[in-house]
Structures are given as C-alpha cells and as structure tokens.
Amino acid sequence: MSIVELAGVPPPPQILRAENLSAYFDKFQAVKSISLGIPQNEVQALIGPSGCGKSTFIRTLNRLHEEIPGAWVDGAVYLENDNIYLRGTNAVDVRRKIGMVFQKPNPFPSLSIYDNVVAGLRLAGIRRKSLLDEVVEKSLHQAALWVEVKDKLKKAGTSLSGGQQQRLCIARALAVSPRILLMDEPTSALDPISTAKIEELVVNLRKDLTIIIVTHNMQQAARISSQTAFFLMGELVENGPTKKIFTKPKDPRTEQYITGRFG
C-alpha cells in the first residue's frame, strides 16, 4: 500500500517533475504539454494504448528522445530542483542519474556478464578491481540474477536467456547508482516467469531508488505501482494513486480503457 493512500500523511516528496513537457518528431507532436510529478522511492506506472506517447514521454525524462534525428523537446523536467533541459546542462550528466531499461534485452555484444555490469563505471574511468567486484555482486543481487550467474561471470552476456539478459540489463543500469530507473515495457518480450521475477525485483528496488515504468499490461501496473498515469493521444488524461485509477477513475476515458473497451 502506498503512503499516498494513508490519510493525514503528507504526500511524499517529488523527485522528478515534468512541466508543460512536449515532445516532437520534426513537426509531429507526440507528447502534448504534460505536467507530472513522480513521488520519490515509489513505482510510477505509465499506461495507455499503443502510440499514446508514453514511451516518447519516458524517453524525454533522461534526454534520450533528442538522440533521434529530427526529435526535439519543449518544456522542463526538474530533477529535484534542477531543470535537466536548462541550456548548458549536459545530457550525459542527466543520464548518469536517470538510468534506463529497454523493451528488448540489449546486453552489449562481445562483453562478458561481468563487463556488461561494470561497463558504465569502467568507461567512466573507474578501474579499481575491488570496487568493480563489489558493484557487480551488489547490482546482480539487486537484479535478482546473482545466484544464477555467479559462477559464469566471464561468459558472454548474450549467452543468457532472454529473461536473464533483461535482468543483466537492469543490473547494468543499477551499477552506476542512478537516482531514478526508467523502464520502457521491460517485460513485454519475456515469458510469465521472467516477468514475475522482474516485477518482484522492481518492488524490492523501491527502497533504493525511484522507478518509472511504461507498461502495456494493466495487471502489471496494478501489481507493482503506487501511482499510475493514463496517457491517450499524447495527453495525460489522469494521474493518481494506482488503486484509485483502477477502481474509481475520474475520467470516463480512463474507465473505458481499464475496462478494456478500447486500446
């Protein structure tokens, strides 16, 4: 149960806040002036039908959207008090603090499991073996993969199964100790057992960081998130405590979507 739901307790501090955020591909506006606050150390779910802009939105939160040729962003995103879109802010620095896991597992080819996990640190210049060893064990523990791979850390990352690869990617993202982890449909390419493992680890990760997860699967949003935002045609229709969104939505469109009448 989320803290938000307990009466009389002040809402948790917001770690991330989008303000009037719009995202474009050339002239096409995929995200329309969205304002949304993300509570710290909670799981925020983004739901909505295909093409509603939720993936584009999440990619603006770590400034990955702008890497696509012709893509641009208008508005502001505050990480605590700093606007990540402030002129002069380096996208690389933003991404150190806001990690990401993608829809398809994408371990780095030709790198071992160990090297995959430490890639972010090593390429940032950290070489101390003892520190790297420590990070590998901790991150793989957090990603619930340690037990399965601890004896074959030198094997190629791509030799793992799809579900393991995805957890490896989670460990890789966690290794650089981000404040926030963005997950763009992280289980949509996985089987139910792998999905369950990832859902479980996401819930456990909440104590360490804030998670924002895009999902097609409404049951998944209901199971793991404390706050849910419903997107439609590039707009934010409704955002609130997950329980409320799924039981007493304010907007009729939200109700139609969660009861399966479209999308």
Binding site: P69, G99, M100, A173
Partner: protein
C-alpha cells in the same frame, strides 16, 4: 477419419520439384565457385615447379640465367601494403563511423556519394594522381608514392564496409550505452566497434587483398627495382608489377617465374586472411 494424404501423385510431383530446385541451386553455387577453384589449381600447377626457398630469399637473376627469386618483390609488396594499411585502415574506419553514426544530413550524403565515386575510379587514374602529387614533386619514383596510391584505393573500400557493418548493430544497443551516461564517442569506440569486430576484420581483409593485387597504380609510382627495399623514398619492386614484367617478357624462365610469383601473392593474401581469423577466434572464445 480420412487417411492422411501424402503418398499420392501430387505429392510425388511436389517432391520431384523440390529435388529439381535444390539440385539447380547446388549447380549454380558450383558454377559460382568453379572459377576460383580453377584459378587456384592452375596457379598452383604452373607455380609450384619453380617454388623453392630461394624464391623467397634471392634477388632476381638476369634473363636467361637459372636461379634467383623474387625477394625484392615480396618484401616490397609487404612494405607497400603495410604502409598503405597503417594509414588506410584507421582512416577508412573513421570515415565509415562518420557515415554510419553521425547523420548530419547533407554532409553525410555528400561524403557517401563521393566515397562510392572513389570506389569506382579506375585504379590507374589513382596511380596518375599519386604520380602528380608525390612522384612529380619529389622528382622520383618511390615506395611512398606506391603506398599513397594503395592508401587512396583502400579508404573508400574500408569506409563503405565499415558503414554497412556498423549499421547491422541494433540501434537499441547504442541507446543502452547512451542511457548509462556515456558520451556518444565512447559508446561508438568502446561498445559498437568491439561488437562489430569480426565483420570489420572481414572488410579490412578484403581491402588488403584488393590492394595486394593492384598493379596499375604501382607501375609509375613505386616503379620497380631488382635489389629490394631501400627506404620509402626509393623505388621498390612489388609482386604484381614483377609478375607483370616477367609475364610479358620473352624469357621462358621469367614467364615461368611469373606463375610462381602469382602463387606467392595468392598465398600471402590467403595466409593473412587465415591468420587474422584464427587470432579473432581465439580472442572471442577467451571472453
């Protein structure tokens, strides 16, 4: 329940079609590789009789004299191709990275067009260019000029294959690197390039094989000599040019040696190729 259909006439016809289709594919494949085998075996057949240790260690003897080798040409070719590769491989790969990874609209398109154009320029034209910019100012044929010509030939080949290989790497792998807070150049150099290593090596090998056999651009740049490598500013012999000279001579011994030279040239390319693959394999199995 009806009996399962499948032993009838229609089925037999289907199987016959299958056999015919498969057979003709085998035949076409055979026709495609037949010239290679023919060239290989004929070069071996004509080249082996004069192949001996002296061929690799001795300098050429005058026409009509028995003995001697092509040490000058073998060494010269290694120098020419080596120097050209030393600069051509990094240069070509850098250009390929630019083409594949930095989509800057007009500049990229223009560069790709020019690269394609350069690939199709006859190599003798590149030889003339090397003559004009290196031989003429230095007033001498030189190994440097020959290497320069081969270098120019090498760049577009390496660049285009690098571009094609890098494009095979899925976009989301690059995004994963960027999402870790790595700058783009690091993602390319440390993640994308190592991931494409075997493909890149193949491209580079093809380019090396191609320039190893180039004759026309060396005729009036590196020229030739009979005494081996004497520095980058001196003329130097090369296998293709030596083969060309020997094969077009009146001397029967020389013409026979041209075949041996051809065999050595093919062997060098083959060995470099094989060696690289073995090294690559042992490295990839270690990680």
């Amino acid at each position: 329940m009806k009996p399962i259909q499948g032993i009838g006439r229609g089925d037999r016809r289907r199987r016959l079609k299958n056999v015919l289709a498969l057979g003709s594919l085998h035949l076409i494949a055979l026709i495609a590789v037949a010239p290679l085998f023919f060239i290989f075996s004929y070069v071996i057949y004509r080249g082996v009789p004069n192949l001996n240790f002296d061929f690799f260690t001795q300098l050429p003897k005058p026409a009509g004299e028995v003995g001697g080798g092509m040490a000058n040409a073998i060494g010269g070719s290694l120098v020419l191709v080596g120097v050209a590769s030393l600069f051509g491989i990094p240069w070509g790969i850098a250009a390929g990275i630019y083409l594949s990874e930095y989509k800057l609209g007009f500049t990229t398109k223009a560069l790709r067009f020019v690269t394609d154009l350069l690939t199709s320029v006859p190599s003798i034209v590149i030889g003339i260019f090397a003559y004009a910019v290196v031989v003429a100012p230095l007033k001498a044929y030189s190994a440097l000029a020959g290497s320069f010509a081969l270098f120019i030939i090498m760049i577009p080949i390496v660049a285009r294959t690098t571009e094609e290989i890098l494009k095979l790497m899925p976009q989301h792998v690059r995004e994963a690197g960027l999402a870790l807070g790595l700058p783009r150049w690091k993602v390319i150099l440390r993640i994308v390039l190592p991931g494409c290593l075997s493909g890149l090596t193949t491209g580079v090998m093809l380019a090396i094989a191609r320039i190893s056999g180039e004759t026309a651009p060396l005729l009036f740049t590196a020229f030739s000599n009979d005494f081996g490598f004497r520095g980058l500013t001196q003329p130097v012999a090369s296998l293709p040019v030596q083969i060309y000279n020997y094969a077009s001579s009146n001397d029967e011994l020389w013409r026979a040696k041209a075949w041996t030279g051809a065999l050595v040239l093919v062997m060098i390319v083959f060995l470099v190729n094989l060696l690289t693959r073995i090294i690559m394999k042992s490295q990839s199995s270690r990680s």
